[in-house]
Subunit: 338 residues, 2 copies
């Protein structure tokens, strides 16, 4: 492995000049720069990351803390991760992958040992224990999610409350007055994962504002969970005309179940899903849906981290506006039936 000294010798300059060519922090004449770059190319020189980190206290590495349980929401998590890695590379950074279950210790390990410049966390809980730990780190962090006390920490996410509102407004606009919510699994609520909470309170609020009759229900994974949830909702709101589904796993079995029991979508029952686009269009019925813009959120998280790193200003809470795409799962209810 050639070092910067080898390059310097080959180009007939001092090592510091090579460094300045690389970093652009001082003016270098075009001629010298060309010679240095030629030498770099010829020798196949790559600066040693450790040495660089030691001298500059910058690693050009981001930590991504992902929930690597395999049970839930896998495609969405993957989309976030993909977006983060891609965006990081676009800013000349690499990504160190941590699992959520390492908890606080993992964060501290990579931060204290200066392995990363900044951290991006996913799957935040309402009173996430990692938040106070993050505050103690010298590295900045960006959350994908919105825990209760996030003062001083940058947060990025879809505005789930607005998404719930949007879903209800859409349905109300089509004349629906009696609407059920099929929520995430009870486990998600128990963890107080922030998006579930926010969606739920947005839903209840909008339900009141729009003067709708609604019932909400978490939904265990699997066909049985869906059956139970739907039965409960039906029992409490027998004449409902629409469902909002905030649970990707449940979509498929739910549609199967409705089909099996002879309820047609959208003729007998309308559906608005909150899920990634590709999930919405891969169902037997193309679903009117509000996208979970994992790609945008991931990219924005990285961008925010970069701004933080070079001392630019950031908006500490960025909630992306939801976008509803109309497909074929909502019908207009004629005024006489309302």
């Amino acid at each position: 492995m050639p070092t910067i000294n080898d390059v310097a010798r080959a180009a007939g300059v001092s090592p510091s000049t090579v460094s300045y060519v690389l970093s652009g922090r001082r003016p270098i004449s075009a001629e010298t720069r060309a010679r240095v770059q030629a030498a770099i190319a010829e020798l196949g020189f790559h600066p040693h990351a450790g040495a660089r980190a030691l001298a500059s206290s910058k690693t050009n590495v981001l930590a991504l803390v992902a929930p690597l349980r395999v049970d839930v929401n896998v495609p969405v998590i993957m989309q976030f991760a993909t977006a983060v890695v891609t965006a990081a590379r676009a800013h000349n950074h690499d990504v160190l992958l941590l699992t959520k279950d390492e908890g606080t210790a993992g964060l501290e390990r990579v931060a204290h040992s200066t392995m990363v410049d900044a951290l991006i966390l996913m799957d935040l809980e309402r009173d996430d224990l990692r938040i106070p730990a993050l505050r103690r780190l010298k590295q900045p962090s960006v959350l994908i999610g919105l825990p209760a006390d996030h003062t001083g920490i940058a947060c990025v996410d879809l505005d789930f409350a607005a998404a719930a509102r949007l879903a209800l407004e859409h349905l109300a606009g089509h004349g629906h007055r009696r609407i059920g919510l099929v929520g995430p699994s009870p486990a998600v609520y128990k963890r107080q994962t922030t998006y579930a909470d926010r969606f739920l309170s947005g839903f209840l609020e909008a339900s009141a504002t729009l003067d709708l009759r609604t019932v909400t229900h978490p939904c265990e994974p699997g066909a049985a969970g869906v059956r139970d949830a739907l039965a409960d909702i039906d029992a409490q709101l027998p004449d409902l005309t629409a469902l909002v589904v905030h649970n990707e796993e449940a979509l498929r079995p739910l549609l199967d179940l409705l089909h099996a029991s002879g309820r047609r979508v959208p003729e007998d029952i309308s559906i608005v899903a909150i899920c990634p686009q590709d999930v919405a269009v891969s169902m037997p019925v193309d679903l009117t849906s509000i996208d979970i813009p994992a790609h945008d959120v991931g990219t924005l998280a990285v961008e925010t981290a970069m701004r933080l790193l070079d001392g630019r200003t950031v908006e500490y809470t960025r909630l992306l506006a939801p976008r509803l795409v109309e497909r074929r799962s909502c019908r207009e209810i004629s005024p006489s039936h309302r």
Copy 2:
């Protein structure tokens, strides 16, 4: 951030002694060790990763090159990644996440700049361009997959050829003689992803050995793809009694389709799936399946990397024996119907 010198001062020893306490590379008296450890704990000392890498030429980081397209096999990829990260942590390593689409350049970047000690790659193609690049690196690498020319590079995977054989033997053992294979999407074959090839040739071989009548067909994603594939298979082998399905995405729509057309599983048609356990049991019919042991493979890959790193011997090709779990999707064909 305290340095090793701060610790040394606090403990009243020299920095090198602290280092030896940390690494255990030289004997240190119990008393001194205790003092040093106390100082470390009190100051909250964490060695600087860059400095360490510079001095020792070890980073304690593994590169994981994952195919981060979101389209296909997401849960399996996630399982591999989870296993790799967990196993790496168990060996005191962290994981740097690279995407496959950075190609050769990405590998060279992290390797030449000494960011990682070893590399683990997934989703290898038959004549993967990255192989020659890997050979040129000073870091060892472990492949999850089995490309054509893998001499000198450690490979780990499920033995897909044996899996195909096992599936056919199981079905043949139950009296099935006419069997269709629903394979991965044409895109997977086009890329010559190694598992698809290996499964297919194992299938054809076993089909000949067992003297079966079989037809094989790739399968585009989506319900339409499944419909086409099944129609083709039915046309070529009208009286088939069983299907081997090596395509997770296809399972669900396939079962739907069979159900819709009144073909019962397993009464009218038997199925053996090659897929992760949890997928097999999440279907409307519990599927007899051969597991894709992502967790074992990922763990083994890391273990192999570790052996390579500390100069122990490794088996350069480790193909894990497939395990078939009988559930409820295969029936015995009575001799009179064969």
